[in-house]
């Protein structure tokens, strides 16, 4: 009964979305305020309805209602409660419902927090949001109904893929979707602005917090996914340039670029067309990510044949949404000229160059991700584009970007003094050079590139701290004045400092863990000791244990250094009872300098076990860095400038102008 109500709420939501889209477009166009007034309540109602529907599905999972097909296929009574709940989005239908839920919640948030938005803009933003909602709700209702019943209901479910039964992966999809779908809001803002034919500094200020929120969630989601791959797949690696990873990384690159170009649009009234373009691209890449992961095109192009309606539907949705937005952009974009011209040597100049680098990097990742599919579709052979391609292309593009990240915040808007900024960074440069040289001299003369990476990280961290210090006048007399300035720093400035500093720490972690990982693979018998990076791993024994819904081979390693017992590591190899699928649970002991990482494999039948032992230097720095970046986004979001949006400088135009109305048809 509750499931039927959930299904019904979803159908209602589709109807409400249709009303919301129509009134949001037609209201401002016709100058009909009664219509426009319906839009925001409709958005809130839609959010409530989709939430009810999602709650109904969650209820079915929690109570193990196996008369629903997706519960029967993805859940089991033996499963711990956390995974019963996360099972809601651990499958195609449920995850699409979560997509729709987050979309509706963002729409509701715009309706709720958008009190100071221009009414016509608000109506149009919500209308575009509703159009996206119609697409996704129709997709769910017509091709992927999560409330489809099974008759007769099975006695028990077939379980969730054991790899997904993990706290990291339970929360990875919601975070990632909050990021992906958050970009729908900036997309709606861009499309609404194109329909209005007007973009001003106020528009850019309204867009920034939504971009920031999406970016923060995306950063967290990607980091969580990477962390999961790191400990669950048991390869000791954290990023594989796998198409699924790239699918989430490309929107992140675009969102990062958007975050920065929106600043230029707000502060300098320039780069407007570019900001709008990026907003479209970022959401297009999000949709592409959804398409790649959800359609099955990634594992096989032929998966179209096994389930044609879904993949084709998402692809069509992608083409229509992005095509319409680009058509709108081609039509209206040329009018979006900014007032500000700018000097390459200025803060906005630096932001533009970084934008360019980020966009080209995203494009090269896109090329590498899609190329094998193109070849396959055209039947030109089967290839794979692996990590070496992405590393050779992506890393050189990020080097100038990171160098610039140190310099640009120190430069002024409009006309910066390049020589002066460089002179101010003299000490920062010396610190970076010393760090790089130190690594090269004392750690690894073979790999100058890795030492250079560490120097870059040091450069960025030092430059970020220096910029903060000079902003609060730390180097000038008057500590009281400095303290006052620290307290009165705008939250957005804290956000930038934290995000840049976090990236610096993460870059150090990525570089060190890629370059200086120690790995040892061998067969060990109980009592054997293997030394990795100065740590002595001793296998004390291995036994079979029982978990709630799995059986595991559990190894015990004692890690000694200089005769002193430091840690005990307990890796497992689990076999889940329902699916009979094995999973690897690596044992990881984080330390300041790196992770001790142990994996136990199968018994060799002669009393020994295959083991993999690693020392992964500075890996915890990556997670810490990512966390600091997310924190920066969060703090920045609380900046009061975003809450009290300052009114537009120019007087608002009459909203019912025919010129603006023509756009509503598109």
């Amino acid at each position: 009964m509750i499931s039927e109500l959930g299904h019904f709420a979803l159908i209602m939501a589709l109807g409400v979305a249709a009303v919301q889209a129509f009134t949001g477009l037609a209201g401002p166009w016709r100058g009909n305020e009664n219509w426009s007034a319906i839009v925001a309540p409709a958005a809130l109602l839609q959010a409530v309805l989709v939430s009810l529907s999602f709650a109904a599905l969650t209820h079915a999972f929690v109570t193990s209602d196996f008369s629903l097909a997706i519960v029967a296929n993805n859940s089991h009574t033996l499963k711990p409660m956390l995974y019963k709940v996360s099972g809601v989005w651990g499958n195609h239908e449920g995850s699409m419902l979560m997509w729709a839920l987050i979309l509706a919640l963002y729409g509701g948030a715009v309706a709720f927090f958008g009190g100071n938005l221009r009414p016509s803009l608000k109506a149009r933003v919500l209308a575009v949001q509703a159009l996206i909602g119609i697409g996704i709700l129709a997709f769910i209702l017509f091709t992927s109904n999560p409330f489809a019943r099974l008759s007769p209901a099975p006695f028990d479910g077939s379980g969730l893929n054991p790899l997904l039964q993990d706290p990291g992966l339970a929360f990875h999809p919601p975070l990632l979707y909050l990021g992906y779908v958050g970009l729908s809001t900036t997309f709606s803002f861009a499309a609404a602005a194109l329909i209005e034919g007007r973009i001003d500094a106020a528009w850019a200020r309204w867009v920034r917090p939504w971009t920031l929120a999406a970016w923060g969630f995306l950063t967290g989601g990607i980091a969580l996914g990477s962390w999961w791959a790191y400990y669950e797949l048991g390869w000791g690696g954290w990023w594989f340039w796998d198409p699924v990873e790239n699918a989430s990384f490309m929107p992140w690159l675009a969102a990062t670029a958007l975050l920065h170009s929106a600043i230029v649009s707000e502060k300098r009234d320039a780069l407007k067309a570019w900001t709008v373009f990026l907003a479209i691209i970022a959401f297009a890449l999000s949709l592409l990510g959804t398409f790649l992961v959800r359609s099955g095109v990634l594992t096989s192009v032929h998966a179209f044949a096994s389930d044609p309606s879904r993949g084709v539907f998402i692809l069509a949705f992608l083409v229509v949404t992005v095509g319409a937005a680009f058509a709108l952009f081609a039509w209206r974009g040329p009018n979006l000229t900014g007032r500000g011209t700018f000097d390459p040597i200025s803060r906005e100049g630096g932001l533009v160059i970084n934008n360019f680098l980020l966009t080209v990097a995203a494009a090269s990742v896109l090329l590498g991700t899609l190329y094998p599919m193109f070849l396959d579709v055209l039947d030109l052979g089967k290839v794979s584009v692996g990590a070496p391609y992405f590393n050779t292309v992506f890393i050189p593009m990020m080097i100038p970007a990171i160098i610039l990240m140190g310099v640009a915040p120190l430069m002024q808007w409009k006309r910066g003094d390049g020589a002066k900024a460089v002179a101010r960074l003299k000490f920062v440069f010396m610190i970076a050079a010393a760090v790089g040289f130190g690594f090269w001299l004392f750690l690894d003369r073979a790999s100058a590139l890795a030492s250079f990476g560490m120097a870059l990280a040091a450069w960025l961290l030092a430059a970020t701290l220096y910029e903060f210090a000079s902003r609060v006048r730390l180097f000038e007399p008057g500590l009281a004045d400095t303290w006052r300035r620290i307290r009165h720093q705008p939250r957005a400035s804290w956000g930038m400092t934290l995000a840049h500093g976090g990236l610096a720490i993460a870059v150090a972690g990525m570089t060190a863990s890629s370059a200086w990982r120690s790995e040892s693979i061998q067969v060990m018998h109980p009592g054997d000791t293997v030394t990795v990076s100065g740590y002595e791993f001793t296998l004390k024994g291995a036994e079979t244990i029982q978990g709630p819904n799995y059986q595991a081979l559990q190894g015990r390693f004692e890690v000694n250094q200089g005769g002193r017992l430091l840690y005990t590591l307990v890796p497992e190899k689990r076999t889940y009872l329902v699916s009979r699928q094995p999973t690897t649970e690596a044992a990881i002991q984080p330390t300041f300098l790196g992770d001790l990482y142990a994996v136990i494999g199968d018994a060799d039948g002669k009393g020994g076990y295959v083991t993999r032992l690693y020392f992964n230097p500075l890996v915890p720095w990556m997670w810490t860095g990512a966390l600091i970046m997310v924190l920066g986004a969060g703090i920045s979001l609380t900046d009061r400038r975003y809450r009290i949006g300052a009114p537009s400088k120019r007087p608002a135009r009459q909203e019912a102008e025919p010129e603006a109305g023509a756009g509503a048809k598109a």
Partner: protein, 150 residues
């Protein structure tokens, strides 16, 4: 700088960066494309020993042997031809006899030295390349739809 010069400076800088990026992409593509070969391809085509490539097929039942020092040897077949694969390390969780896998590495002296063995996140998964290779070898017995991928 005058606005005109500023624009020029940006455009030329943009072109410079773009040209650099294109050059990077092209060289990286040339060096890092990994082609897929079926066991039949390995019999019929000439493969340079230093060329990195992927192979795929079904793991022959009973062929997996644990050698000394965590070395593993198994045979991969497309049901027409087969090839011996050597690998050192822990096989992925979903590696099983009779199942489709993809391996990346080098083909030397008639033996495939795998550096990576890939089996995907799902037990019912059959790599598309493997399904195609088996079809090409004329041995496909599955449904007409193709790979049983999710």
């Amino acid at each position: 700088m005058k606005p005109k010069h500023q624009r020029l400076a940006f455009i030329s800088l943009g072109f410079l960066l773009l040209a650099g990026a294109v050059a990077l992409v092209l060289t990286a593509f040339q060096e890092n494309l990994v082609f897929f070969h079926s066991p039949t391809d390995l019999k019929t085509k000439v493969v340079k020993p230093e060329q990195r490539l992927r192979i795929g097929g079904l793991v022959v039942q009973g062929s997996v042997k644990n050698m000394a020092d965590a070395n593993i040897r198994f045979t991969v077949t497309d049901l027409a031809n087969s090839v011996q694969v050597n690998f050192r390390g822990i096989l992925p969780d979903l590696f099983r006899e009779g199942q489709g896998i993809v391996a990346e590495g080098y083909f030397r002296n008639g033996v495939f030295q795998a550096t990576d063995v890939l089996a995907k996140h799902d037990e019912t998964y059959m790599p598309a390349e493997v399904a195609d290779a088996i079809k090409k070898a004329g041995q496909w017995k599955g449904g007409p739809g193709g790979a049983n991928a999710k």
